[in-house]
């Protein structure tokens, strides 16, 4: 059991450091260990000052996202052994394109604000009285949005998106996918309220379909697909309002 793996971990302390640096740690290479286990080992046994976020350890809470060898990953679902044969140490960095608060912890208020702006909840024109019962939905109707509802807000997709990196006003992959999650829901009536935000340049039109968001998403949400599909919807709506300028709304 003498086998070890080296980690090169991004360190930044807002009180002490003007610039971030990398610190190297050697941790045991265990077959069933994920990157998060290695970080916890460091925190428990080697250096208690290392700061990072995590909670569920099972790919549900979405808080453990980091850059592992340059790729956005959920560290609780990324096995050390996958990197054992690679040259050089494993690089662990905070999620890209977000400001770093300390070590591996990033500030994601920007995402939270954007998420709220697309109203990710069911909007009804008029609620029906409780006496009329629940809003029923067929499996087919569920299937239309189910994929988008799997999002755990881990923001890996933002770290994969160069458009977001270059122009942080871009509303970004997960927020648009979650808007679509409600737009496609048969119980929802808020599609045109959301369109005001989504159909701006900072909304869907900033996207150039790089497609990396979909590749890094641990939940197979396919935000890139959601954005492209919404482009088509927005275009059709635009032509409709052009043909029928006095249509409803």
């Amino acid at each position: 059991m003498a086998e070890t793996i080296s980690l090169e971990v991004f360190r930044y302390s807002p009180e002490r450091d003007a610039e971030p640096s990398f610190q190297r740690y050697d941790v045991p290479l265990r077959k069933d260990w994920v990157v998060l286990d290695a970080l916890n080992y460091i925190k428990d046994k080697v250096d208690g000052s290392l700061t990072f976020r995590w909670s569920c350890r099972m790919g549900i809470c979405g808080s453990c996202g980091m850059m592992v060898n340059g790729e956005p990953k959920l560290t609780c679902a990324t096995f050390l052994s996958n990197y054992a044969r690679e040259q050089g140490p494993l690089r662990v960095q905070p999620l890209r394109y977000f400001p770093v608060i300390r070590d591996l912890v990033v500030e994601i208020t920007d995402f939270m604000t954007k998420l709220q702006s697309v109203k990710p909840w069911l909007i009804r024109g008029k609620e029906k009285p409780i006496s009329e019962g629940e809003y029923l939905q067929t499996p087919e109707q569920l299937d239309r949005y189910k994929q988008f509802s799997m999002c755990i807000n881990c923001v890996l997709c933002y770290s994969a998106c160069p458009v977001y990196g270059l122009d942080p006003v871009f509303i970004g992959p997960a927020a648009i996918a979650l808007a679509q999650r409600y737009n496609m829901d048969s119980r929802d009536e808020g599609a045109h309220e959301r369109m005001d935000i989504l159909a701006q340049h900072e909304g869907i039109w900033g996207c150039t379909f790089v497609g990396e968001c979909t590749k890094v998403c641990p939940k197979h949400v396919d935000p890139a697909g959601a954005i492209q599909q919404y482009k088509l919807t927005a275009t059709i709506e635009r032509f409709k309002s052009f043909l029928m300028p006095r249509g409803a709304k």
Binding site: G165, L166, E212, A224
Partner: protein, 141 residues
């Protein structure tokens, strides 16, 4: 008076954050990004094809001598080389375009989403058919 909702205020007071800057060469750093840029650059070669096509139309319109000159121009090794690169890029464009077609359009049949494989396959089949028809029009000896 308009009511404005303020975002959470507590983030305003914070210690110094570290922000990194995106390098101008970000698209060289990773192969998927480079592939993306190459895909976008393919549009330049699409435009070049349009130029060639319009020059051909102009030559055809000016008579058989002008057209013979145009054909000789096409045999210039530099133009041939450029066209080889162009062919690579327009095929790259076509392949990347067809492969993401199922992402861009969620086609449903009998309530179920048509599997990606069928959409991509149908695109390639149509591509082959269209190419054959066009070749049938253009290849006359």
């Amino acid at each position: 008076m308009t009511e404005t909702r303020q975002p959470a205020r507590y983030t305003e007071y914070h210690p110094r954050w570290y922000r990194s800057r995106v390098s101008t060469w970000w698209w060289l750093a990773q192969w998927p990004y480079l592939k993306f840029i190459l895909r976008e650059i393919s549009s330049v070669f699409v435009a070049w094809f349009v130029v060639v096509l319009l020059l051909q139309i102009r030559a055809l319109s000016r008579g058989s001598e002008a057209y013979a000159a145009f054909e000789r121009w096409l045999q210039n090794p530099l133009i041939v080389l450029l066209n080889m690169i162009t062919l690579f890029f327009v095929v790259f464009h076509a392949v990347t375009w067809f492969n993401v077609a199922p992402r861009a359009m969620a086609i449903r049949f009998r309530g179920k989403r048509v599997p990606d494989f069928w959409i991509v396959g149908a695109n390639y089949a149509a591509w082959a058919a269209v190419s054959l028809v066009l070749a049938w029009f253009l290849v006359r000896s």
